[in-house]
């Protein structure tokens, strides 16, 4: 039995609270939120201990694990405080607003041997997991190109002023929607060396972007295209899909289906024939002990609880994996501003810095000045 505290009770926080609370190996010892109204209701009707400050929750309720579902801008402080008190952390995505801070927190967790997880729930969806398995088995040969898309109806009018509409707090389609698609791409293809052609466009928002387009370049020579729009009313709810092309075929995946076209049979994948193969979530998804919004939300919580109980720090959604996503987000932000950003691996970074320095000595312009925000301005 592990003692869990939750900080932040928005849509994700409430959902996490219900799922953790329903877990047989979890005791929820306290909640923290800025809305006294919500805390009072939950305390009144469920008896749970509530706190208006995270440090009070930690001091009084003494959780062994903390679930953080606050606006992204506050993650870094909360996560650092929890880790420094040797508390395992489940944090909503994205991990922080800067890749450097995410990397620092990931290092801190590693040093202390703490279990960490970030809420990139797609990695716990059976269909997306099946594509990871297929890629690892070499189903489509050498990957040459991918297309990752995420569409949904979040911002459909100009009004409104929550943190999700403020980029400084981690709002916007890049942090909120594109992060999921990027996280899948880095899971499937590794971290790209660079990005280009990034456009953070506005449809209705003023303080942040509603659509994202970008091209990712991988060291293998493969490329990926990203297309994201959270002002798409035609989608009933968030719809994330990835298509991947390789020398031996093509994969398509969304939350419900996985389509695999294979040119030649692949050793170890006897259940997949040459030509089209279709697998559905109904066949692929293992049962969960409690269902709220999708098996993946329960599975990720169960994955975290099991990792905490077994002290396993190698989970698929650890802070380390999230850092890659945050680095790509940082690259895209810089690219959209017209800045060139170094790739992640240190040797590439050093080389590029040297090249840039050499160029600047030659007096060349390093910063194109046309940011690619185009719509709604």
């Amino acid at each position: 039995m592990i003692k869990v505290g939750l900080v932040g009770l928005g849509k994700m926080g409430l959902s996490h609270y219900a799922i953790f609370n329903a877990h047989p190996d979890v005791e929820v010892v306290g909640l923290c939120d800025s809305s006294g109204f919500l805390l009072d209701i939950l305390h009144k009707y469920t008896g749970v201990a509530t706190f208006s400050r995270a440090d009070e929750l930690i001091d009084s309720a003494k959780p062994e694990s903390l679930v953080i579902s606050t606006p992204t801008g506050s993650h870094a402080v909360l996560v650092r405080d929890a880790l420094s008190r040797n508390i395992d952390v489940f944090c909503e995505k994205p991990l922080t607003l800067t890749a450097e801070e995410s990397a620092e927190l990931s290092d801190l967790a590693s040093e202390r041997g703490l279990v960490t997880q970030v809420g990139y729930h797609n990695r716990f969806l059976a269909t997306f997991g099946e594509v990871k398995r297929l890629l690892d088995a070499g189903a489509i040969g050498t990957v040459t190109h991918a297309m990752a898309e995420a569409y949904g109806p979040v911002v459909l009018k100009p009004a409104g002023s929550t943190w999700r509409k403020d980029r400084n707090q981690g709002g916007g389609a890049l942090y909120d929607y594109a992060a999921h698609a990027i996280n899948l791409l880095t899971w499937y293809m590794g971290e790209p060396g660079r990005v280009a052609g990034t456009s953070l466009g506005q449809v209705f928002s003023r303080q942040t972007e509603d659509q994202v387009a970008s091209t990712l370049f991988f060291e293998s020579g493969a490329t990926a295209q990203l297309s994201v729009n959270w002002s798409d009313e035609s989608a009933r709810k968030m719809s994330t899909r990835v298509t991947i092309w390789g020398t031996n075929g093509r994969l398509y995946v969304d939350r419900q289906e996985c389509h695999a076209y294979l040119r030649n049979p692949v050793a170890g994948l006897d259940e997949y024939q040459p030509g089209w193969n279709v697998r559905y979530t109904t066949d692929l998804t293992p049962p969960v002990w409690y269902y709220l919004r999708g098996e993946e939300y329960s599975s990720q919580v169960d994955g975290f609880v099991k990792a905490v109980m077994s002290r396993d720090t190698s989970g698929p959604n650890s802070f380390g994996a999230a850092v890659s996503t945050d680095r790509v987000i940082a690259m895209m932000s810089a690219d959209a501003r017209g800045e060139r950003v170094a790739a992640a691996p240190e040797r590439v970074r050093r080389r590029r810095r040297w090249v840039l320095r050499a160029r600047s000595f030659q007096g060349r312009a390093l910063r194109p000045t046309s940011p690619s925000r185009s719509l709604g301005q």
Partner: protein
């Protein structure tokens, strides 16, 4: 276990053996996004929905179990205008239409979303009730206001059973906020003379909590299918709780979105203990007829289940 006066007053309604659902009209398909979009395109127009409802009526179906999607409001108007054409037709509303709230919560926060859907049409007492409720953290008042707002579209139409949707039922179940089941139950009985129903993906856990909340012999609707799709606890546990708990169960997702061959699926469900009815959705007369025929092999599809 204590019963409120409203418990004793409400007479248990008869429930048809086969109920018609509305997921297919709104782009909900658990197996394929493409199929879901094709359905959303096909049913973009009310007349396409009416055509299927008419076919269902002619094939003997009399109950539409539905969400509170705006389009259902239009269907209600259509049916209200022709009472003789749809004699005996009734609705089992399921509320709330969760995506409406989920999307609003993303934009305005949880409290903002609730505020957004509270009545704002000049019902002074309703507004006062809501205002006071929000101020005193009396969630019961807010809950009843939200129920009333969702029920408005069914005014003048028979709604003998009113369901709480699974997202809300299962959220409350997870939070341990189970007194809300009683609030919902008491309100739909007192205000609408209807029997409360509960949709869930967690039937075994829910039955225990409903019993604790004093809701006797509850009407519950859950996935019941041969492959155990979205049946938390597993098909074996469902079999056990359906035998051991007093309840009136409606089976949904019996085909698991098409993953189970139809005849095999129906034979299995009809053999489950305490399953009184089957809820299914279809987009064509031939599919409606084939399900009715399959169920007819095991049950009297034109009869209703006995009142509890």
């Amino acid at each position: 276990m204590s019963s409120s006066p409203s418990d004793q007053l409400a007479s248990a309604p008869t429930i048809d053996r086969v109920l018609f659902g509305d997921n297919q009209f709104f782009g909900v398909n658990h197996m394929s996004e493409e199929k879901a979009r094709a359905q959303a395109m096909r049913f973009g127009d009310l007349s396409a929905i009416v055509e299927v409802i008419d076919a269902a009526y002619e094939e003997g179906l009399r109950t539409l179990m539905c969400t509170t999607h705006d389009r259902i409001g239009e269907l209600c108007e259509h049916i209200r205008a022709q009472p003789s054409r749809y004699e005996g037709f009734r609705f089992y509303p399921g509320m709330p239409y969760a995506h409406k709230y989920a999307n609003a919560a993303t934009e305005d926060g949880v409290v903002g979303a609730i505020r957004r859907f509270l009545p704002s049409d000049g019902l002074f007492d309703a507004a006062m009730r809501g205002g006071r409720s929000l101020a005193t953290k009396d969630i019961d008042g807010v809950t009843t206001l939200l129920i009333d707002a969702e029920m408005k579209m069914f005014e003048g139409l028979p709604t003998p059973v009113v369901f709480l949707q699974n997202v809300v039922v299962d959220l409350l179940l997870g939070l341990g906020f189970t007194s809300a089941f009683r609030t919902f139950s008491d309100h739909v009985r007192a205000r609408y003379g209807a029997e409360p129903g509960f949709i869930t993906m967690n039937l075994p856990a829910l039955l225990v909590e409903l019993e604790k909340a004093g809701i006797e012999n509850p009407i519950v609707c859950a996935n019941v299918n041969k492959i155990g799709f979205r049946m938390c606890g597993g098909a074996g546990e469902y079999d056990r709780v359906l035998r051991s708990h007093e309840c009136r169960a409606i089976a949904m997702s019996v085909y698991a979105s098409g993953a189970i061959p139809a005849a095999e699926a129906i034979e299995w469900v009809c053999g489950m203990p305490n399953v009184e009815s089957i809820l299914f959705g279809a987009s064509s007369r031939s599919n409606i007829r084939s399900t009715m025929e399959l169920v007819g092999r095991y049950w009297d599809v034109n009869g209703a289940t006995s009142a509890a």
